[in-house]
Symmetry: C2
Subunit: 187 residues, 2 copies
């Protein structure tokens, strides 16, 4: 039904999202504009609004599907310290892949507030494994996430010294430190 002027197929939400994400990767959230996005898709800017309610909604959509699709290490039965480190490192690497998107996400935490998200489910599982009592899980997870978030921000803005591997090692060290503190705490 009235497909675009010079495109074969009609627009797809998927298509819109992926090229929008690319534009965000290249120029940050403010580097993404509906007009540029439309140009990239060879379409009139207003056509996008038939698939998306607003720019904000689009960005939110991108962020939340990325959060849902994060690929994180599965439960491999290893000690909780190792699993926690692996999870944190997984988060960190996911974030490094799309710094601008995660930057936006960290400025709008409500997007990943849903506790059914894979990250939180995995984190809670590990905390249970670590023996963190039920009522402490929320706060503990918040603290851990706060640190990971902060490290991601510092890392992606290029304000951590050393090469990437060194930075990852520093991250790992810090997580060890915190898990150490955690263990001491529950005792």
């Amino acid at each position: 039904m009235a497909v675009s002027a010079r495109r074969g197929a009609p627009l797809t939400l998927e298509e819109i999202s992926t090229t929008a994400l690319r534009l965000m990767d290249e120029g940050g959230v403010e580097g993404l504009s509906m007009r540029k996005l439309a140009a990239e898709l060879d379409v009139n800017p207003m056509s996008l609004y038939h698939h998306v309610e607003s720019k904000d909604a689009l960005v939110r959509l991108i962020c939340s599907t990325a959060a849902q699709r994060m690929d994180l290490p599965p439960d491999d039965g290893s000690p909780w310290q190792d699993q926690l480190r692996a999870l944190a490192l997984g988060y960190y690497r996911n974030a490094l892949a799309h710094p601008a998107m995660w930057s936006h996400l960290h400025n709008h935490p409500e997007i990943i507030a849903d506790r059914n998200l894979v990250i939180w489910q995995a984190l809670y599982r590990i905390l249970r494994l670590a023996g963190v009592p039920e009522p402490e899980q929320r706060r503990t997870s918040d603290v851990l996430h706060a640190f990971v978030m902060g490290y991601v921000i510092a890392g992606t803005k290029g304000h951590l010294p050393g090469d990437p591997e060194e930075i990852e090692r520093g991250f790992d060290t810090a997580i060890r430190l915190i898990t150490g503190g955690l263990a001491g705490w529950s005792r």
Copy 2:
């Protein structure tokens, strides 16, 4: 020399900064516009550019002077653990006073990259007191700042459960945990 149409005195950088900060407090960085700021000061938008190079430069100025003027606890001779907790809490409270500004700051860490800033000087002093070896100070301070930054973000976005005092107690607990880990680490 050709003072404004309807103002007695000429504009001041101080005056510009403070009302700009107020606008940021009210509507975030994107809620601050040169036009609104000018209207607030009863002045033509372009007049601002005689005192400030750009909006970006203005925001940067506000952030860095706020960083310089942070009021933080002095060296009171108490154990490093207490001083570190006090410093972190001081940072947290400074940030809570102007969430939008600090949000911007955390997205542009280069503004507070200068290691001569009071925060870093105080932090380094405490780390020395804690016996953190010289070459480890940078990384340690980065880790600590990462956590504080993350907690501030989560806290200011209202995504930590509980009332403010409860949140502060959680923060304190977390800092204790980390300092505990730190102590165990240096041994």
